[in-house]
């Protein structure tokens, strides 16, 4: 209470009642306590743990939007671009700027879908997927929308809220289907891929290589994604304030061993051969080719039919379109690279390997006459020549020239008692194992032997027992290895499974051993040549050391090479007529036809050849599924490619030899 009393001037204090004094003191005390608590709390928040709140505030305000790095180009061995980038306009949706969910958004999707020729549901799916991949980033709905559509969107922007058009750089494959499976394609990285070691450090939303070279050399091609830091407000809208971007680092260029001219010719020739076979009533629905430099394993051309247009992956692809690419039923898959992942018996193209094995293993002598008669009889089973031809008892060179099956059946029969001589030679030359090519999808193949047979039998029995089914199809019948298996292998049939690339490696080994007096090299086939800067400067040349060195008996090898040279050049040789008019003295051809039999299907046409040249020797492997005899379809394709490679007039000459 403020009972004011008179005081002397010497005491200037206003007296206050004790009760009031105490209570005001209590109020003041409370105030001091509260101020103390608040100061302590502020000190804790701002001084002690302020750093942490700065970080949280940055998490709030800054959104990192990726700036895609320009992907490196893929160039052929002469520097011609095979894969490059192309700038186009993309229709994009900024999810945060869309009208509210429900009727307004559905209405927008309907109108936009009508404009772009897409279903509203598809637009919604793309937006939702994109939003979950990278938040706050615009989602591409359509690329190459066409000038008409873009004009409409530009002029009536306010009618399409959240829709914008942006120039984007997309991957361009100017040659369409050419080498599509080998080049691969690109796509936004998937959630599973993010976990892969190959993509360590790659951010969600980055476009990475899928399949083929795009995948294998992705870490060189992709560059480093830049970051556009965008400040946003509480509603997620960008605030205009310049934050320093981290510019992207462009990917390096990849120079490959392919020769664009030969590659184009290979694709064209394969199609020509297939059309020829179809004209002859064969289904000829798939095929593949490989051209290899036998000295070092550089892949000069490689292709597989049917293909696909990698540009279509930039659209983006719908599920049904993707299913169509995978194939199914009678339609062969378009994504499969048959040159490295086709698993086939090779027919008679295997015979030089058998011959080499038999000679080196002492199974036969070169001049010994074998295989007389149309058929030979082993264990109650008939093994016959194609068309029941009778070549009489012939020596090795002649047997290769005319492709006598009975000769090689006898070789196979004898070899069976010498252990796995054929199998060992096949493995030594590079068949039945991965070649180590710089592609992701290579298969191993099979060169069957007794141990393999026993293993398959065990697997089949275990499977049948486990699943309670009469057959699992691992082997057609459970039986032990027999002499017949070796006889079939000797002519490239039976359980043999390999692909054009492995055969090309085997022929390359024979070829380079032939060049070097029997000292051969199993090359590692490869496509990568060097990694270059965008301006052409070399970053790194790629080295693919030989898989191993082999020593072949020079005399034996010369006989085998003579046999297949005669087959391609001498009258009566299986592919001699295919090479009519070819200057054998300038570019001697060492070629072997093959016709692989498949149960219930048209024969598979094969051709393997090595063409000698001091500067540009080359090995071709060509196969056409259900294409008929080797000389008929595959060999002419090889000739077309050889003509291109050596600059000779091109001419499709279908051979007449009807040999396996």
């Amino acid at each position: 209470m403020s009972a004011i009393e008179r005081v002397t001037p010497r005491d200037p204090r206003v007296p206050v009642s004790p009760t009031l004094a105490v209570r005001v003191a209590i109020l003041g005390g409370i105030a001091m306590v509260f101020f103390g608590v608040i100061f302590f709390r502020l000190w804790y928040l701002q001084i002690l743990t302020g750093e942490q709140y700065v970080h949280q505030a940055d998490v709030n305000r800054v959104r990192d939007l990726p700036i895609p790095a320009p992907r490196g180009e893929i160039l052929d061995r002469n520097g011609n671009p095979i894969v490059s980038g192309r700038t186009t306009n993309a229709v994009q949706i900024v999810p945060e700027a869309l009208p509210p969910e429900g009727a307004p958004r559905d209405h927008l999707y309907r109108r936009l879908g009508h404009l772009l020729g897409m279903s509203p549901r598809r637009i919604n799916t793309l937006v939702e997927d994109g939003r979950s991949a990278v938040r706050y980033a615009p989602v591409t709905i359509k690329t190459d929308a066409g000038p008409g559509v873009l004009t409409v969107l530009a002029e009536r922007a306010q009618e399409y809220p959240g829709v914008s058009q942006q120039p984007v750089s997309i991957r361009a494959y100017p040659f369409g289907e050419m080498a599509a499976q080998v080049l691969g394609h690109v796509d936004q990285i998937s959630e599973q891929e993010l976990k892969l070691k190959a993509f360590r450090g790659v951010q969600a939303g980055t476009v990475v290589g899928q399949e083929g070279l795009e995948f294998y050399y992705d870490r060189y091609l992709r560059g480093r994604t830049g970051v556009q830091r965008v400040e946003v407000n509480a509603a997620g809208e960008p605030v205009p304030r310049a934050l320093a971007p981290t510019p992207p680092i462009a990917g390096h260029n990849l120079k490959v061993t392919l020769d664009l001219g030969l590659e184009k010719e290979g694709e064209k020739a394969l199609l020509e051969g297939i059309e020829h076979a179809r004209a002859g009533g064969k289904p000829a629905n798939a095929g593949a080719f490989v051209a290899l430099d036998p000295r070092n394993g550089q892949v000069l051309a490689i292709g597989s039919y049917p293909g696909f247009d990698p540009n279509s992956f930039a659209k983006p692809l719908t599920k049904s379109e993707y299913q169509a690419l995978l194939g199914g039923g009678s339609a062969p898959g378009r994504l499969t690279d048959r040159a490295v992942a086709g698993e086939y018996p090779t027919g008679s193209t295997f015979k030089p390997i058998t011959a080499m094995a038999a000679l080196q293993g002492g199974v036969i002598t070169p001049s010994e006459g074998l295989g007389s008669g149309q058929c030979i009889d082993v264990g109650g089973e008939q093994f016959c020549n194609a068309g029941h031809a009778d070549y009489g008892a012939v020596g090795l060179v002649e047997a290769l020239k005319v492709s006598s099956d009975t000769y090689f059946f006898e070789v196979g029969e004898r070899a069976n008692s010498h252990g796995n001589v054929i199998q060992q030679m096949a493995h030594e030359l590079g068949v039945g194992q991965q070649t180590g090519i710089d592609l992701p999808s290579e298969l191993e193949g099979v060169v069957p032997d007794a141990a393999w047979r026993a293993r398959q039998n065990r697997l089949e029995l275990a499977c049948e027992h486990h699943r309670h089914v009469p057959s699992c199809g691992i082997v057609s019948e459970v039986r032990p290895w027999s002499v017949g298996d070796d006889m079939h292998l000797a002519v490239g049939q039976g359980d043999l499974l390999t692909d054009p690339l492995q055969m090309a490696v085997a022929y390359s080994t024979l070829a380079n051993a032939y060049m070097n007096g029997g000292e051969g090299t199993v090359v590692r086939p490869h496509l990568g040549l060097e990694i270059d800067e965008g301006n052409g400067g070399l970053v790194q040349s790629l080295n693919f050391p030989a898989v191993r060195h082999v020593h072949l008996n020079d005399e034996d090898l010369s006989l085998v090479m003579e046999g297949i040279h005669e087959a391609a050049s001498q009258p009566g040789g299986t592919s001699a007529d295919v090479w009519t008019g070819w200057d054998q003295s300038q570019h001697p051809v060492y070629g072997k036809t093959g016709t692989a039999e498949h149960l219930g299907k048209e024969d598979q046409s094969w051709y393997m050849c090595y063409i000698a040249d001091p500067k540009r020797p080359i090995v071709f492997a060509v196969t056409v599924e259900q294409g008929g005899f080797g000389a008929e379809t595959a060999a002419p394709i090889a000739r077309l490619m050889a003509s291109e490679w050596f600059g000779k007039p091109e001419q499709f000459v279908s051979g007449t030899s009807k040999t396996f």
């Binding site: 608590v37 701002q46 709140y53 305000r61 407000n233």
Partner: protein, 397 residues
């Protein structure tokens, strides 16, 4: 005190009222008010620059007008003898109730909640002005019963006189102002000298009813407060459990203040300018201070409030009569409660109650009400000095 402008030797023993010199206002109180007003303007200028698209000065311009207008009211009130207001206590109390009811009725007519009556240029929040009206009328009432302060009847009547407008205000709904009313009444009784027993009983009653309103009643399906109010009141106890809703505002406010660190983020501030803390121009203005000016700025503002509250308590003691003492006590209680609850709310140690930060928060009603209260303090100061001069005494500042 060095700032005492009146030296005893210079002061004549008595002067006729006509020749009495105009006594100066309390300079420290004026300093605190001007300082806080400037802090408010500077903080709002940054914090609200993105709030109204195309008009970055919208809030600052208006706040300056409110501060100037309120300052004029304050000067006028400072020159009036507050003691004269005593005789109008019933009219003042009636004005309080009527204005609050009018807002309630208008709000009801608008089929929604309304805390303000909208005039053409100004929306008038009756509950804010009501704080001052209640302080004056309740103080006068307590003075009247100063001889029976120990009676239970007095305590009950005073509390009911505050509770009636408080209930109406809470129904608007403006929980914060309602709580201020009750606190004002309690502080008045406390300073007037009500017995400890009564005060303790009232405190116990508050605890029991809070428990009832927040826990027991909702459990029984009876919502005294709106569910969002209950959620806001209890959210600070578990801030991370619901960061999307109730806890969000407080969490973002803490981030803003913490990110200010020692000296603030200045132009780098993002939490407030980018709108991560809703109501950062009004209830959460302290978060804006914390982010922009850091610990240094927040400490300066708090020191100004300490000065303000110290002057209020000092003037309380200086007052020439009980009425002045009680009015000053009411103002001091109001300021203390609002500052501590508001700042505590922004730093996560108090519930969100919708109490403004006096003088700092944007808003005409709040600013002018606070300045009126300060005007009352100045008046008490001036009258105390005049009275002391008249009686030949020196009042210590």
């Amino acid at each position: 005190m060095p700032l005492s402008p009146i030296k005893p030797s210079e002061e004549p023993a008595a002067l006729p009222p006509s020749t009495r010199p105009r006594l100066p206002l309390d300079p420290l109180l004026a300093l605190a008010v001007i300082g806080l007003g400037l802090c408010s303007v500077f903080t709002l200028r940054q914090a609200t620059r993105n709030l109204v698209p195309g008009n970055p000065h919208y809030y600052v311009d208006r706040q300056i007008i409110y501060l100037v207008l309120g300052g004029l009211f304050m000067l006028v009130l400072a020159r009036i003898d507050y003691a004269r207001l005593r005789q109008f206590r019933n009219a003042i109390y009636a004005a309080l109730i009527i204005s609050i009811l009018a807002v309630l009725a208008l709000g009801h007519a608008a089929r929604g909640s309304t805390r303000a009556i909208n005039f053409a240029f100004f929306s008038f929040q009756a509950s804010e002005l009501g704080k001052v009206l209640l302080i004056v009328s309740l103080s006068a009432f307590v003075v009247e019963r100063s001889r029976s302060l120990r009676e239970r009847d007095t305590t009950v009547r005073v509390m009911i006189a505050a509770l009636v407008p408080a209930m109406f205000v809470i129904a608007q709904p403006d929980l914060g102002s309602g709580m201020v009313y009750m606190v004002v009444a309690y502080v008045l009784l406390f300073v007037a000298g009500t017995s400890w027993r009564h005060l303790a009983a009232l405190a116990a009653l508050v605890i029991v009813s809070a428990a009832f309103v927040l826990v027991a009643a909702p459990a029984a399906g009876l919502n005294v407060l709106k569910p969002y109010q209950v959620a806001r009141l209890t959210a600070f106890l578990h801030p991370s459990s619901n960061p999307e809703k109730e806890g969000y505002q407080q969490q973002e406010s803490k981030i803003a203040i913490g990110a200010g660190q020692k000296t603030g983020r200045g132009a780098n501030a993002s939490q407030i300018p980018n709108g991560f803390v809703p109501e950062s121009q009004t209830d959460f203005i302290f978060a804006a201070v914390g982010e922009q000016y850091g610990f240094a700025g927040a400490a300066l503002v708090l020191l100004l409030y300490a000065l303000l509250i110290w002057r209020a308590l000092r003037i309380l003691v200086m007052s020439k009569d009980l009425f002045g003492t009680l009015v000053a006590a009411g103002v001091a209680g109001m300021l203390m409660f609002q500052v501590f609850v508001n700042v505590g709310m922004t730093i996560g140690i108090m519930p969100i109650t919708g109490v403004t930060l006096p003088l700092m928060s944007y808003g005409g009603s709040s600013v002018i009400t606070t300045l009126l209260a300060v005007g009352l303090l100045q008046s008490i100061y001036v009258q105390a000095r005049a009275s002391a001069a008249l009686k030949g005494r020196v009042v210590r500042n």
